[in-house]
């Protein structure tokens, strides 16, 4: 009896302690001044000896330390280089996990080639180790979802790399519909699609059906039809993975025929079609700089991002989909390699910050360090792109979510 009382008291005390601890953390983390010898705001020139004031999850002020007053009660964090939290414009982590076992691979449903109704949010594991991993390198936002391995593999979503569950993490529950053209979406022997031409006939039939349904008031109510009608109404873009030149042209042809909003993905042979892509006005989420040159990606160039940028095409960078080891790339490293292959540091950083935010339609909220935007920051002890530099901390929504030196 006595023991039980003691237990109750202990539980109460622990609870009280945790409450106070949590409260004090929240206060401490709520108001932060992040000083950087270089602050890449990605809105104008980098600031030397700059500071970013963070209050209540948002950026309160950005500027040189000489002109921005740091309030006395703000927790000060210093770093050599401060950047906006990095954005990975296309990945599959959260749906696919690091163990690469059937139970943690949820980015591809094998039962059919056209499944636009599959929501990413129903499969997203916010606690996945790979999310923690990329967060430790400064990645704060990911566009993730069904993998590019079926004609329409499902939906994508946009999430912050934090949050105790999917609801807390999610920024956009349905961002795009993942479409894959070329070899990677061919079905098993004897099943459709078995050729590139068949892929298009199936896709076009699906879109024609959606077109018809969008005009009917008594259209059949089903998940697949509902989502495809939203595609036809240009509410949701198709994320079309197309690497070979003919597949890129196919994507552009499809977009024209159905007046679709699309985002080109991968685009390993975009180098051969810069004029055509530029004329289409569609953005490109280009393959990882260090992606393996095989299959439809055989002709990729490490200078593709630079070439797209130089052509005036909106471009962002991705970590992509990996089937084996490593299970995910780190978009920071891919941007680093882009910086070494034709892009300036600023333009390479833009691929994983503001330019990515624009393509994802979230540039009003993330992607640069500006007053009023989400307080998502990454800190480094040197040039973020050098292999030998470290990410020293990551802040998401004004909270320090990582302080390991990675």
């Amino acid at each position: 009896m006595k023991n039980e009382k003691l237990k109750t008291r202990n539980v109460f005390l622990i609870g009280l302690f945790l409450f106070i601890f949590h409260f004090s953390l929240a206060t401490a983390n709520g108001q932060i001044a992040v000083k950087g010898e270089t602050v890449w705001t990605m809105a104008g020139e980098p600031i030397s000896n700059g500071v970013v004031l963070v209050n209540n999850g948002k950026i309160e002020a950005v500027g040189p330390q000489s002109s921005v007053q740091i309030p006395a009660n703000y927790k000060v964090i210093s770093a050599k280089v401060v950047t906006p939290g990095l954005i990975d414009a296309h990945t599959v982590i959260g749906l696919n996990g690091y163990l690469n076992q059937p139970h943690d691979q949820m980015a591809l449903e094998g039962s059919g080639p056209l499944q636009p109704e599959l929501r990413a949010i129903d499969a997203y594991n916010s606690d996945e180790k790979l999310i923690e991993w990329v967060r430790q390198f400064g990645v704060t936002t990911i566009h993730t979802g069904h993998q590019p391995s079926a004609l329409i593999s499902g939906q994508t979503m946009i999430a912050k790399t934090t949050g105790k569950d999917v609801d807390e993490a999610t920024l956009v529950p349905t961002a795009m519909i993942a479409v894959t053209l070329g070899e990677d979406s061919l079905a098993a022997q004897g099943k459709s699609p078995g050729t590139r031409a068949k892929e298009m006939s199936m896709l076009r039939a699906e879109l024609i059906k959606a077109q018809e349904n969008s005009k009917k008031t008594d259209a059949p109510k089903d998940l697949r039809s509902d989502i495809m009608v939203r595609v036809i109404k240009r509410e949701i873009p198709l994320l079309i993975t197309a690497n070979k030149a003919q597949d890129i042209m196919t994507a552009l042809r499809l977009a024209k025929e159905f007046n679709l909003k699309i985002v080109l993905d991968g685009a390993a042979e975009a180098q051969l079609l810069l004029k055509e892509i530029k004329a289409s006005g569609f953005p490109v989420i280009v393959h990882p700089t260090m992606a393996r040159a095989n299959g439809d990606e055989m002709s990729l160039s490490m200078e593709d991002a630079a070439k797209l940028k130089a052509a005036g095409i909106p471009v962002a960078l991705q970590s992509g989909y990996e089937g084996y080891v490593p299970k995910t790339r780190v978009v920071l490293f891919e941007a680093a390699m882009a910086a070494a292959n034709g892009l300036s540091q600023r333009d390479a950083l833009a691929l994983v910050t503001i330019d990515a935010a624009k393509i994802l339609g979230l540039d009003a909220r993330i992607g640069s360090l500006e007053k009023g935007k989400d307080a998502d920051l990454a800190m480094y002890d040197g040039d973020p792109f050098e292999w030998t530099s470290h990410c020293t901390g990551t802040i998401i929504n004004g909270q320090v979510v990582s302080d390991v030196v990675r």
Partner: protein, 439 residues
């Protein structure tokens, strides 16, 4: 007339090639990282007949008269990179017939025209241990290759030992890759894996005993057995085992088997080395490691750490890096060393791991891996610090001949990729630099 012109050209090229053999080439004004010895800020490297003739600071080295002098100001010269574990040139080893196939030679499978050779040259790799895969307990014999240019058969890339035999090791694996549940003769468990390997070594010892007993009498010799012959080489220390192993318990199993049979072994991948670094050090077994962008991808690499390199350095283990190409691309092995430094390894150990450590791992420490007088003239010219992301390999030289030149459009295409970069070698592409850049 046209024919005559070509004929003259061919003769001229031939003469150039001949003279290139004898004319010394001196690189001056470069920052030289010799790996053995301190970096030299304003260094001179003289090569001739495929060997290093002299190396040292400006003023301390006499440049031979008649030498071709190349001003490498602003550039960094270091030894050619050695990759101790690669799958370039489309290697294939054992088939599905059994888990242990020491008789199989990777030599018999390699395609010298593969574009992967050019990518490795573009990455500054001058020597590679090309191996069959890890789906067997023993998938066959490996081959050490010099990535020379203009090869049209695998013999053109071989490295000969002092007996004139081409050099190579043998590939073993444990853990899950070589386990095939219900796979017939393949093991279903780790214990069975170890038992099958031990069994083979006992057989090999018996085979060796029979040979010894025969004392050269051909009538008493056992029947030739290709598998046993290879394993006897292993037992005699002439053929090193390159053992794919990830988990801490599998690593320790290799060490246990090593103690039992006395073979020479290099541990490869060693994802959980950080858990048993002291045991590895105590066994005096070197490691050939890979660092990957994220943990996982398979169960055995779930606990791989970038810190592995630093932990092994601290434990005093001889540690080299490998690409495991295509797991990491041969063009970026220097990045692996950069990531090792990021996770705590010293710069010196990281550069050593790219070069000299791997040379030792391949029993080539007296010939390659550092820039020292008398060693093979295998070296690379870099645009900057070897561990910087912004640095490019400008030139790769093997035995005094330039095999990669970033300023050559064709080589540039291989280095950065693009349309046509992944095509296998076209037949006539070497005529233009037959003289290996020694012009």
């Amino acid at each position: 007339m046209k024919k005559f012109f070509y004929c003259i050209c061919a003769i001229w090229l031939f003469v150039c090639a001949l003279s290139a053999q004898t004319k010394p080439v001196a690189f001056i004004n470069a920052r030289i990282i010799p790996i053995v010895g301190q970096p030299i800020d304003k260094g001179v490297l003289v090569v001739q007949n495929g060997k290093i003739l002299a190396i040292g600071a400006a003023g301390s080295v006499t440049i031979p008269s008649g030498a071709v002098t190349i001003d490498a100001v602003g550039k960094v010269i270091m030894p050619g990179i050695v990759d101790s574990h690669s799958h370039i040139l489309e290697p294939a080893g054992g088939d599905a017939s059994g888990p242990i196939q020491p008789d199989v030679r990777v030599l018999d499978s390699l395609n010298v025209n593969s574009t992967s050779l050019r990518r490795a040259q573009a990455g500054g790799i001058t020597t590679a241990n090309v191996m069959p895969g890890s789906g067997h307990l023993d998938s066959g014999q490996t081959m050490y290759l010099k990535l020379r240019d203009g090869a049209n058969k695998i013999e053109d890339l071989e490295i000969l030992d002092k007996d004139g035999k081409y050099m190579g090791g043998i590939k073993f694996a444990n853990g899950t890759n070589s386990i095939r549940a219900g796979g017939g003769t393949f093991p279903g468990t780790r214990a069975k894996s170890a038992a099958l390997v031990r069994d083979q070594f006992i057989k090999a010892q018996e085979y060796r005993d029979k040979i010894k007993k025969a004392a050269g009498d051909p009538t008493k010799m056992p029947a030739r057995d290709l598998a046993m012959e290879a394993l006897v080489e292993v037992l005699d220390g002439k053929r090193v085992i390159h053992w794919h192993t990830h988990r801490h318990d599998d690593i320790v199993t290799v060490l246990r088997l090593q103690k039992e049979s006395g073979f020479r072994v290099v541990l490869h991948h060693v994802s959980e080395a950080w858990k048993v670094a002291d045991e590895i050090a105590k066994a005096k077994v070197p490691c050939s490691i890979i660092l990957i962008d994220s943990p996982g991808g398979k169960l055995e690499t779930a606990e791989i750490k970038l810190e592995n390199a630093a932990v092994l350095e601290k434990a005093g283990v001889l540690t080299g890096f490998h690409t495991d190409d295509p797991i990491t691309d041969s063009r970026w092995l220097m990045r692996t060393a950069g990531l090792a430094v990021r996770a705590g390894m010293s710069r010196d150990a990281a550069l050593f791991g790219l070069t000299m450590a791997n040379a030792k791992i391949l029993d080539l420490g007296d010939r390659i891996g550092s820039l020292e007088k008398g060693k093979d003239a295998d070296f690379i010219l870099l645009s900057g610090d070897p561990l910087s992301v912004y640095t490019h390999v400008l030139e790769t030289w093997v035995e005094g001949r330039k095999v990669f030149d970033r300023s050559n459009p064709r080589d540039y295409l291989v280095a950065v990729g693009g349309y046509g970069a992944s095509n296998d070698r076209y037949v006539d592409d070497d005529e233009e630099d037959k003289d290996g850049g020694n012009e």
